[in-house]
Amino acid sequence: MEFFQNLNWMMLLKCFIVGGLICIIGQLLIDKTKLTPARILVIFVTTGAILGGLGWYEKLVEFAGAGATVPLTGFGNTLAKGAIEDVTKFGLVGAFTGGIKAAAGGIAAAVFFGYIASLISKPKMKKQ
């Protein structure tokens, strides 16, 4: 209970707005360009990695928290940030290890849960 009393509502609002705005960019891409979902995801992750490499994305993360890390641009940022971090520690080899290391949790979870879901569930027709 104490946690909820101390919740930073201002931060939550900023997170909502920034996260929502990033999604609006995605929606405009869907409606106006006829790009497939895979292409849109690729655009977001690559953009995030580039902005992360430039150090700009981190500022958005500080401002909006999960509003910046949860969209796929945040995934790209995590990859780029991890690569830079390992490069400073291990040199060239860090460029290869850092990205996946930083994003390992997400990737492994998606693969594992995907496998589990395929074991226990079946696709169903859209009923709308």
Binding site: F3, L7, L12, C15, F16, I17, G19, G20, L21, I22, C23, I24, I25, G26, Q27, L28, L29, I30, D31, K32, P37, I40, L41, V45, A49, I50, G53, A64, G65, T69, V70, G74, F75, G76, T78, L79, A80, A83, I84, V87, G91, L92, V93, G98, G99, I100, G105, G106, A109, A110, V111, F113, G114, Y115, I116, A117, S121, P123, K124, K126
Partner: protein, 154 residues
């Protein structure tokens, strides 16, 4: 103008004739759902910090929990309904990435666990990993080139 004179004329005519997506309505829905998903992430993140976890670990936990929720909803055949309503609102957050891995895994189960689930799992999300990881490696190398003095090459 006769719309069939050239392919270009026909394309223009078709563009005029085809109904457009209700972009304003779609953007509004994407904003609400996308913002809501991010806010769930924010609450989880704050809770992790409240329990004394560091920032990196917290955001990994956020990703894993959102991916779990998305996989669960996909398995319950509910995510496509959310996606149809929200569009980019559920696609762009990490939930969309999870859904794009889980949905082909379920779909191609009929082709077996190795060549079906295992191989086809990445038909939609594979490119995200290819381009995301490649971009991060390039970022690392470029960073290395610009900061050679301060970093010892192994």
């Amino acid at each position: 103008m006769n719309p069939l004179d050239t392919k270009k004329d026909y394309q223009e005519y078709v563009n005029k004739k085809s109904p457009n997506s209700p972009t304003l309505k779609n953007c509004f829905k994407a904003f609400i759902v996308g913002g809501f998903i991010c806010s769930i992430g924010q609450v989880i993140m704050e809770y992790c910090k409240y329990r004394g976890l560091d920032k990196t670990l917290s955001s990994t936990i956020v990703s894993i929990i959102l991916i779990l929720i998305s996989a669960f909803l996909t398995g319950l055949n509910l995510f496509n309904k959310i996606g149809k309503f929200a569009g980019a609102g559920s696609l762009v957050p990490i939930t969309g990435f999870a859904n794009s891995i889980v949905s082909p895994a379920m779909e191609y189960k009929s082709e077996g666990y190795v060549m079906g689930v295992g191989a086809k799992m990445f038909t939609v999300a594979g490119p995200v990993l290819v381009f995301g990881i490649s971009a991060s490696i390039l970022v690392g190398i470029i960073y290395l080139i610009f900061n050679t003095q301060s970093i010892t090459l192994v």
